[in-house]
Symmetry: C2
Subunit: 341 residues, 2 copies
DNA sequence: CTAATTTATGAAAACATTTGCAATACTATT
DNA sequence: AATAGTATTGCAAATGTTTTCATAAATTAG
C-alpha cells in the first residue's frame, strides 16, 4: 500500500517527503502563485501519498478565520427551523463556512451556555433565532464584538442585525382575513409566548386586530399548545367539543393549524363549512392537505438564505454595520376559510 | 464599566491580572485540584473581569480533543432527519461535544468533500447517514482512523459501526401487512433509490414479499417520487386517476404516504374503504391525520440517541471496536388499511 | 558582462495554549 | 531540629501552522 506514515502526518512530514521546507508547503496551500509549479507538484504528490489533511486549529491560532459559524436554534426538530437551517447552511457553505449547531429547547440560559461554547471554538460569527435573549447573551456578543445576526423576526429597533419577517403583521393579516370574512366568534391556538418573541408578536398582532374588529375571544377558546400536531389536536378538541364553539380558529403556526384541522375532522366537522381555520407559516404540506390550508406565508428559505449570505459577507468584510432585512409575507388563501354565514 | 482590555484577552492577560503565571491559569482550568483555592479565586475574578474565553483551537493543537463531532446528512430539511439530528445532538451534548453539520443533497461526491472539511477541523468523530458512500469516503475514514458511525440503517456486515433499523425488514412488514389483508393489486410510491441504501432496502424488502405473495404490481403503479408531499400527491394522482387502480398503495415513507392520502381525498376516495395506504417511518403527525396512518415505526429518536451515545463513548475511550446496534421496528396499525373485499 | 529585478525558497518568530520538570514553601514525622 | 514528604507554582518546551524577512538563484535590462 501507499506508505502512510502513521505517526504524525503534519506539514513537516510533507515537507520532508517533498524535500522542501515547511514554509514552502504552507505557501503552496495559501499562496500557490508564489511557488514554482514543479515544487508545487512535488508537494501535491507528497500530500496525496501521505494522506495529509491540514489542521485548521493551527491556522486559527494565527488570527485566521476558523471557517465556522455558530447557529443556535430553539430546536432543530421543527418543520420550520429545519427549513431555515438548511437554507442558512447552504448559503454560508458557498462562502466556505461550516456550521456548528446547537439547540437550547427554548431555555435562554442554555442559549447563553451554547453561545459561550461556540466562542471557545472561535466561530467567526453566530446566528440566533429571534430577539428574545438574555441580557448576558447580548452582553457577550457585544463584548466579544463578534459578527452576529438574528433570524426570523424583523424589528426596526433590533439590537442585532436581523433578517426576518414582521410577525406582528403576520398576526394582523391572519386576524384581518377572518374579520373580513365576517367571523366574530374566534378561537386562538398559540404556542407559549414566554421567551418567544415570534409567537408573542403574532399573538399580539392578531389580538389587536380582533379587538378592533369587535370579535369575541372567550377565554375557553384561547388555548395554548406546544409545537406539536398531537398537542394541538388535543387542544382543539377541547374547544370544538363545547356546544358553544367559535366559527373560526386562528393558529400561531401551520403545525398547530394542522392539528386543529385533524381535530375538526375527527369531530366530523366539515372544513370550511362548519369551521374556518387559518394558520401562519405556510409549511411544506400546507398546500397539499385537503382542503388546502389558508395561511400567512413566511419565506423561511429566503430568510435562511439571506441571513447566511449577509453574515458571511459581513465576516469576510464585504459588508459592514448593522443591517435589518424585512422579508415579505403574504396571505395565501386556500380552502380552510369561508365567509361566516 | 469593567475594564475589558480590548486588545488581546488571552491567558497572559488573565495571568497578569491575577498575578500568577500562565501555567497556573491553565492548570486552574484543566486540573483545578492542583491549584490553591485562593489563587483559583483570583484567577476566576480576573477571567470574569476581562471576559476571557478559552481558545479551543489552541488546546486542540496539543492533541487534546476538539470537542466537535461532524454530522453529515443528505439533507437537514426532512421531518425524519431533523428528528435524528436533534436526538443525536442532545445525546453528544451530554458528553460535551458540539456538532458540525453539513448536508450533501444525496451527492456522494459532496459528502466526501464535507468529510474532508470536517477532518480539517479535526472533529473527534463523524456520523454519516446510511451505508451508501463513495469508496473514497470509506477510504478516508479508515486511513485517518477516525471514530465513525453510520446511522439509520442496520446491516450485520456494515463496514462502519452502525446504529439503525433493518430497512429491508420494514419493507417486508409493510408488504406482508397488505398481503395479510388480502390485497393483491398493489401500488408502490418510493423515492429514488440510487445512493440511498435505506430506500433501496425497503423497496427490495417490499418487493420480495409481494412477489412471494403473488401480488400484482403493474409498472404504471410503480412510481418514483422525491421526498415531498407535493410530489407524492402528484404521483399518486397519476395512479389513482387510471380506471384500473390498485386496492392498496405501499409508500417508501410516511411523507409520501401523506401525499397519497391527500391525493386520494382530492379524488373523493374514501380511506380505507376505497384504498388502503401504508407508510414507513411513523413520523410526527402520522398518528394525528384522519384517519391515522398505518405504518412501520422506525425509532428515529432512539437511533439518534444511541448513535450519539455510542460515538461519544467511543471517542472518550470508554467503548471500543466496531459495534452494530439494531433498533426495533414495528407495524403500527391505524386507520388507513382495511381487508380487501 | 554587470547591475537591477524578479522569482523561489528557507529560517525563525509568532500564535495561545498545555504539561513535564524543577524549584520553592509548607507540613508532618522522628 | 533535621528529614521526608506534599502542595503549589513557574519555567520552558512543545503543539502545527502562517508569515516576515532574508537569501539565493534566475532573468532581464543596459
Amino acid at each position: 500500500m501507499t506508505d502512510i506514515n502513521k505517526d504524525k502526518v503534519d506539514i513537516f512530514a510533507v515537507a520532508k517527503r517533498a524535500k522542501v521546507s515547511i514554509s514552502t508547503v504552507s505557501r503552496s496551500f495559501n499562496h500557490p502563485n508564489l511557488v514554482n509549479l514543479a515544487t508545487r507538484k512535488k508537494i501535491d504528490t507528497a500530500v496525496r501519498k501521505l494522506g495529509y489533511i491540514r489542521n485548521r486549529a493551527a491556522q486559527t491560532m494565527h488570527g485566521i478565520r476558523s471557517g465556522t459559524i455558530g447557529l443556535v436554534v430553539p430546536t432543530i426538530d421543527h418543520a420550520i427551523f429545519a427549513e431555515v437551517i438548511q437554507a442558512f447552511s447552504d448559503s454560508v457553505d458557498e462562502h466556505g463556512f461550516t456550521i456548528l449547531i446547537a439547540s437550547h429547547g427554548y431555555d435562554l440560559e442554555r442559549e447563553y451556555a451554547v453561545l459561550r461554547k461556540f466562542l471557545e471554538h472561535r466561530v467567526d460569527g453566530v446566528a440566533l433565532i429571534g430577539e428574545d435573549h438574555s441580557e448576558e447573551t447580548y452582553d457577550l456578543i457585544e463584548r466579544q464584538d463578534i459578527h452576529a445576526i438574528s433570524l426570523w423576526n424583523y424589528n426596526e429597533d433590533s439590537r442585532l442585525s436581523c433578517v426576518g419577517s414582521d410577525n406582528k403583521l403576520a398576526g394582523n393579516l391572519a386576524a384581518q382575513h377572518l374579520i373580513d370574512l365576517g367571523h366574530l366568534k374566534i378561537g386562538l391556538v398559540f404556542p407559549p409566548t414566554v421567551d418567544n418573541d415570534r409567537a408573542r408578536d403574532r399573538r399580539n398582532g392578531a389580538q389587536s386586530v380582533l379587538t378592533k374588529g369587535r370579535a369575541q375571544v372567550y377565554p375557553q377558546w384561547d388555548i395554548e399548545s406546544t409545537y406539536s400536531i398531537a398537542d394541538a389536536k388535543d387542544a382543539a378538541l377541547r374547544i370544538l367539543k363545547t356546544e358553544h364553539r367559535p366559527s373560526a380558529i386562528l393558529c400561531g403556526n401551520d403545525v398547530l393549524a394542522m392539528g386543529v384541522l385533524y381535530a375538526a375532522r375527527s369531530c366530523n366537522l366539515n372544513i370550511p363549512e362548519d369551521l374556518s381555520i387559518i394558520g401562519i407559516g405556510d409549511f411544506k404540506g400546507s398546500n397539499e392537505v385537503e382542503p388546502g390550508l389558508t395561511t400567512i406565508r413566511l419565506p423561511a428559505r429566503e430568510i435562511g438564505r439571506q441571513a447566511g449570505e449577509y453574515l458571511s459577507l459581513s465576516i469576510i468584510g464585504k459588508s459592514v454595520g448593522r443591517r435589518r432585512v424585512s422579508c415579505n409575507i403574504e396571505l395565501i388563501i386556500r380552502g380552510t376559510c369561508k365567509p361566516n354565514s
